[in-house]
Amino acid sequence: MMNLVGKTTTGERKAVRLSEERQAETELIRLCIEGDRGAQERFYRAHCRLAAANLYRVLGSRQDLEDLVQEVFVIAFRGLPKFRQDARLSTWIYRICVNVALGRIRTKSRKPPPILKADPTEGQPGVSPDSPRTLLERQEAKCRVYSLLERMAPKKRLVLYLHEIEGRNLKEIAYLVGVHPGTVRTRLFYARKEFYALVAAGEGA
């Protein structure tokens, strides 16, 4: 809706921008399906880091991360012809990451992830100004979180991660894991109960 002086509002500009982005995505998807190698390369480059970051955070380990990123994109290219664009491309790829991570969680044996051995400044620009002791405490705290997540059933672990760590709402989680929001609500309730019971008891400390 135009205002009285004929200038577009912020909302309108955002809508136009979103529409242009969507068109660009549609075109990119079309080219990728046709086998345009340049388009496929652009597709991969645009989303590879995001996919790696998602997987890294979900799993808490960079073990086999390259293989998992590869798996995400192979699945993505296979599934592109069927993608209905009912979500943003980045969300759709995130969904694939979630499912790939779920598959990995299910097959992985239960042991604490080696995140403590990772560089505390990994993934962060520059070097942290915090003291080594603070960095170590943070690393230990993260390790504790992952070690408790490891104890949970894969499906509960995933919804808990998406809600408590990624901050996703029920509807988003439902799309990402492919279940009804009601199911997510129930699963999340029991997941939080279980997880925070362990935390409160000082488990993993």
Binding site: G60, F73, V199, A200
Partner: protein, 518 residues
Amino acid sequence: MSRHLPGHVLASLASGDLSASRVAEAASHLRSCSKCQAARVYVEASRAAMEQIRGQGEPDLLWDEIGAQVYWQTSQESRSQDPARRHLFSWASGGVPLAVASGLALVAAAALYWSWPGDAGLVAPELVASSTSVLDPAARAREKAQEQIEPQAVSTEGLAAKSVVARPVRGIVVLVQGPVLANGQALRANDLVEAGAQFSTGTGRLVIQFGEQSALRVAPHSVLTIERFDEARIALRILGRVDVDITRRLPGQEFAVLAGGHEVSVRGTAFRVDFEDGQLGVRCIRGKVVVSDGEHGVQVPAGQQFEVFRRALDEVALRSVPIDREKLVSLGHAMQMPMLLAWRAPSELLASTALLELESEAQQPIAVDGTYVAQGPFTLRTTPGAHEVALVRPDGGLVQTSRVRAVRGVANRAHLLAPRKARGSEELEARVRKHQLRLALASSSRITGCLEPLAKRGLLAGSYLSLDVGINKDGSQSFLNLVSSNLSSALQSCLRDAVSEEELPSGPDSSFRFRLSY
């Protein structure tokens, strides 16, 4: 409220998700409960850690290599689904390679595919670099400076031969199995392949890739000489067997396999050439080849093989005949060869790929990423990263699957153990091998030739020949002993020689008694 505050309530308290009344209750309880105070500290610490995790970015990974792997895998899948390149074979095939067809001295022509104005000979190439040694470091240095591997697209309209610039083509070794000599010296997997190279396989095998989805495989006991290797013409001379799978040549580009005085020229196809003891065999599984004696030409399209037949007492002619479907399936299976699908400049490929050295117990056949490669041990060039390796059963099924990581610059070795044989498996394997041999001999023209005189006189019925046969894992025969027969000694020798030429696909070693009855 219960005696102690549950952890999830403390978490909701920390995130501000409790109602005002519940917040007041929790606060009241916390004032007097040290255990819940401690629990609250744990919960808040974990939530802080979760915030840290949320802000975590991606670690530094090998992005280019991941991308190459993705492209390789998706290209492989789309290639296998492409009807134009689909091979008529299945993993459950029990067929065997066909017997070598006999032939006269022939000169093949590529006239059906292109024409040269004026002089039918080739343009004298302007070689950018010349090297006659696959091991020549100077050639490698020149190649680095001057290499252009991608062929230029050439217009088909009014093409003048001299417009084709003969830039050198270079190949890389993708698979080497067993002892292979290159110019008389042991082949190194990282050597570039250039014009003038000669490879002797002995008991080994070799796959060389020289372009996008273009490769050749040299079978055991063969000698391959690369007489010419540039964008205008690739000419390979074979003594033994070579399988070729190449993408369609652009106008102005020739590809030929020379066998004695014969030339088999193609445009874009997958085919096998056998040349041994003056006998030529050509089988085409994709595209078409042309075989000619200089006067008459025969097109051999996909699914057919070249044959010389006697039209009259003193007249031989050439023809193309269909390959039996089972044998075609088997041939397609046997001709699969590993290739790097993302083709770039060979020097880049050598730097960006890794070598897998795989061995198998009892030299069983090995599949990599679901595709049969060869009987172990062998060295395979592949993209860095994790690969699935498995042993291949005689029925084509995969067992003992495991993952192997290929890293550039290091020796990536894996040894696959064979599963314990179930009782009765030796008997089953012998039955499989016997069946394979029977299929191979069923349409052997050599066998037919041996028996023709007897058949013409109506004396074939009731004849038999019994042999003890030993088959090695690579399909060759370890022994072939005559047991008994009611045929003349000349016929016995003829039939025994025909059987001895049969080579079965890789599989378990086995020995059995085999009877030819008529």
